[in-house]
C-alpha cells in the first residue's frame, strides 16, 4: 500500500470510519504479522499481539497526524507492543517459574519456516520491511540505525540464504 493510500485510510479512521479500519486491517495484516513474528517467533503470541495492535490503532488514532508517515505510525505501535510484551515476559520469568507453552513449529518448507530457521531477527525485519512494507534500504537504515550499505548487504545475504534453503528443501 502506498503512503498516500495509507494516509487516506488513517484519516478516514480518524473520522470514525469502521469500513476504512477493516480495509486497513486487510491491507496491512500480512506486514504487521510478519513484523510482529520477527519478535515473537511463534504464531500464538503473534496472533494475540495482532489483536492488541489493531485495538491500539482504534484507541490511538487521534494521535495520528494526517499527512505524516502512516506506515511508520502503525509499525511503531507494533514495535512498542512487542517490546513491552517481551519485557513483561522476561520480568515474569525472573520472578516465577513459567510453564513453557508448546507451540507447533511452522510447517517445514514454508517461507515463514525458512525465515525462522536461517535468518536472524534483524535479517527478518529487513526482509519484511523491504518486501512487505516497501521501505527503501536507506529508510530501513535510518530505522535500524545502520548505514544503507549495511542494510543492502544484509538484505542480499538474507535473500541468498533464504533462496538456498528453500531450494534445498524443495
Amino acid at each position: 500500500m502506498s503512503a498516500k493510500e495509507m494516509d487516506a485510510l488513517l484519516r478516514k479512521i480518524a473520522e470514525g470510519d469502521n469500513v476504512a479500519f477493516e480495509q486497513l486491517y486487510i491491507r496491512t495484516k500480512n506486514g504487521v504479522y510478519a513484523f510482529l513474528r520477527s519478535y515473537f517467533n511463534n504464531h500464538a503470541d503473534t496472533e494475540d499481539a495482532m489483536q492488541t495492535v489493531y485495538l491500539k490503532v482504534k484507541r490511538g488514532i487521534a494521535s495520528y497526524q494526517a499527512g505524516t508517515n502512516g506506515r511508520a505510525w502503525l509499525l511503531q505501535i507494533a514495535k512498542n507492543h512487542a517490546l513491552s510484551e517481551l519485557k513483561k515476559r522476561r520480568d515474569e520469568v525472573s520472578t516465577e517459574d513459567v510453564e513453557i507453552a508448546i507451540e507447533p513449529a511452522p510447517v517445514e518448507g514454508t517461507v515463514t519456516d525458512a525465515m525462522e530457521r536461517v535468518l536472524s531477527q534483524e535479517e527478518r525485519q529487513i526482509v519484511t520491511l523491504h518486501i512487505l512494507w516497501k521501505y527503501k534500504h536507506r529508510e530501513i537504515g535510518e530505522m535500524l540505525g545502520c548505514p544503507t550499505g549495511t542494510v543492502t548487504s544484509k538484505y542480499k545475504r538474507a535473500i541468498k540464504k533464504l533462496q538456498e534453503y528453500l531450494k534445498e528443501v524443495e
Binding site: S2, D17, A34, Q51, Q65, G67, H130, P147, L162, L166
Partner: protein
C-alpha cells in the same frame, strides 16, 4: 522457487487471524479535529475537473482526449499557432525521476530547471559530462525530464524493448506534474516503448524527507537545498559514511563483482581470438625454427629470420630458402593486419611468445568455466596481458579494479569510473536504443496502462512489483 515472495504473501494471508469481536466492536477514538491539511486528497475532495480524470476515468478519457487534442492541434496549425517548447509550466518546486538512475530537479518560478542533482551512482554516470548537465539545466522541466529519461535509455538503464516503468515524484503545481507525465508518455509512444509513468505529487516536506534533506516546509527552502547539492552523489555519500574505509566505499559504488563480470564477458567474447593469436604465434615460431635450422641459411649463428633478412639480399638465397623466408614474411604481414602489431626483431618476437605464455590455455579455459573472484584476482595481470595481445586495451578497467587508499584517490577513481561506465554502457546499449520500433498508438498505450491496473491494482503496485 522464483515466486517465493508471492508464496510468502499467500502463506501470510492464510495464517493471519481475523480480528476478534473485542477489536471489531471497539469504538474508534475519534479525533476532535483532523490536524493538518492532508497532502493527498480523497476522491470526494478532488475538484470537479480532477474527479472527471481520476485514474480509471483518465484512462477511459485518454483516447477521446487524444482525439480532441488532435483536432485542437489541427486547428492551431491551421491558424498558424505553434505549441511553445516545454509547454506551459510555471510553478517553482522540485521533481524527482527514478528509473534506476535517480535524479532530482529543482525548478525555478519560470518552470525551468535551476539545478540537477544525482541521487545515486547511476545518475552520477549520466551527469558525468557537463554537456549532458547543460542539456537539462535552464530547460523547461518537462524537456529536462525527457532528456534525462532518454540518456537512461541510451545507456540501457531503461530497455525500450521491454515493458517497464519510470517514477516521477513532483512537488509542484498539478498542471506541471501532469504535463511532465504527458510529455513522457508521448516520448514512450514515439519510441514504441511500453513503459509507463508512475506519478505522485507530494508536499515540500515529504519531498525533502524523501531525498534526505533537512528543510522547512517551504518550496523555497527545498529548491535552495537541491541547488546546494552540487557535488556528485558519490562524494556526498562518502561524506555521510565516515566510518567506512575508502576501499569499502569505492567497491560499494563500483561493485567489484560487476567489474569481474565485465572481465569475464570480455574474456568470453575474445577467447576465440586469444586462441587464434596463440596458434598464429605458434605458426610463426615453427617457421622461425625452420629458417634457423635450414641447411641453406647463410648464417651459422644468429640466423633468425630478421637478422638474415637485414644482412642478405633475397638474390643470395637458394630457391628453397627464399620460399621459406617468403612464407615467414606472409605470416608476419598477416599477424600485423590481424593484431595491429609489427614484429621487427627476434627479441621482439620473444616478447610476444612470453606474453602468450603468460597464462596456460588450460587456466584460461578453467577461468571461463569456473569463474571465481579468487581465480580472477590471482590471474588478473595475465588476463590483462592476453587481452592486450589481441589489441584489446583493458588497462583502464584494471585501474578501476585497484582499491583507492585515500580520499583523493577515491574521488579521482570515482570520477574516472563514471566516465568509463558511461562510455561502456553507451556502447553496450547502442543496439537496443537504436533499434527501430513501431510508434505506439495512444489508445494502445492507454490499453496497456489499463491492463496493468487490472493486473496489479494500480500503477504504483506495478512499480512496487518491478522494484522487487
Amino acid at each position: 522457487m522464483k515466486n517465493w515472495k508471492k508464496r510468502w504473501e499467500d502463506e501470510l494471508s492464510n495464517i493471519t487471524p481475523t480480528l476478534n469481536e473485542e477489536v471489531k466492536n471497539e469504538p474508534i477514538s475519534v479525533a476532535q479535529e483532523v490536524k493538518n491539511r492532508p497532502i493527498v486528497r480523497t476522491e470526494e475532495e478532488l475538484p470537479w475537473y480532477k474527479k472527471l480524470f481520476s485514474t480509471p476515468k483518465r484512462i477511459a478519457a485518454f483516447a477521446s482526449a487524444c482525439g480532441v487534442c488532435a483536432l485542437t492541434l489541427g486547428l492551431s496549425l491551421a491558424f498558424g499557432l505553434q505549441p511553445k517548447g516545454g509547454g506551459a509550466v510555471s510553478a517553482a518546486g522540485a521533481v524527482s525521476v527514478q528509473i534506476n538512475p535517480e535524479v532530482v530537479f529543482s525548478i525555478d518560478e519560470d518552470g525551468k530547471v535551476s539545478a540537477v542533482a544525482a541521487m545515486n551512482t547511476d545518475a552520477d554516470v549520466i551527469l558525468s559530462d557537463s554537456a549532458r548537465v547543460a542539456a537539462m539545466k535552464g530547460k523547461p522541466v518537462a524537456d529536462a525530464v525527457k532528456t534525462f529519461v532518454d540518456y537512461a535509455a541510451r545507456l540501457g538503464y531503461l530497455d525500450l524493448s521491454t515493458p517497464d516503468a519510470v517514477r516521477v515524484t513532483s512537488c509542484t503545481d498539478e498542471d506541471t506534474a501532469e504535463f511532465i507525465g504527458d510529455c513522457l508518455q508521448d516520448y514512450f509512444c514515439e519510441k514504441g516503448a511500453y513503459i509507463v509513468v508512475v506519478e505522485e505529487s507530494v508536499s515540500a516536506a515529504e519531498f525533502a524527507e524523501y531525498i534526505g534533506l533537512a528543510v522547512d516546509t517551504s518550496i523555497e527552502s527545498l529548491t535552495e537545498s537541491i541547488q546546494s547539492l552540487t557535488a556528485p552523489y558519490f562524494t556526498r555519500y562518502a561524506e555521510s559514511q565516515t566510518d567506512k574505509t575508502f576501499e569499502d566505499l569505492y567497491f560499494e559504488q563500483v561493485e567489484k563483482a560487476e567489474l569481474e563480470e565485465t572481465f569475464k564477458a570480455l574474456l568470453a567474447d575474445h577467447v576465440e581470438k586469444i586462441r587464434k593469436h596463440i596458434a598464429d604465434v605458434q605458426a610463426i615460431s615453427v617457421q622461425e625454427q625452420a629458417i634457423r635450422t635450414h641447411a641453406d641459411n647463410p648464417m651459422w649463428i644468429l640466423g633468425d629470420y630478421w637478422t638474415v633478412k637485414n644482412r642478405y639480399a633475397a638474390e643470395e638465397f637458394t630457391a628453397n630458402f627464399a620460399s621459406c623466408m617468403s612464407e615467414m614474411e606472409n605470416l608476419l604481414a598477416a599477424y600485423e593486419r590481424e593484431y595491429g602489431k609489427q614484429i621487427v626483431s627476434a627479441l621482439d618476437f620473444q616478447r610476444v611468445v612470453d606474453d602468450c605464455n603468460a597464462m596456460p590455455l588450460e587456466t584460461l579455459t578453467e577461468l571461463l568455466v569456473n569463474f571465481t573472484a579468487e581465480l580472477f584476482a590471482g590471474n588478473s595481470a595475465y588476463i590483462q596481458q592476453l587481452l592486450q595481445n589481441i589489441g584489446v586495451d583493458v588497462s583502464q578497467l584494471f585501474r578501476l579494479y585497484e582499491a583507492p587508499e585515500s580520499a583523493a584517490a577515491y574521488l579521482e577513481k570515482m570520477n574516472e569510473f563514471v566516465v568509463i561506465r558511461y562510455q561502456e554502457l553507451e556502447e553496450r546499449g547502442k543496439e537496443t536504443y537504436e533499434k527501430v520500433r513501431t510508434e505506439i498508438d495512444k489508445s494502445e498505450y492507454s490499453a496497456h496502462i489499463e491492463s496493468l491496473i487490472e493486473e496489479y491494482g494500480s500503477l504504483q503496485a506495478y512499480w512496487d512489483f518491478l522494484q522487487n
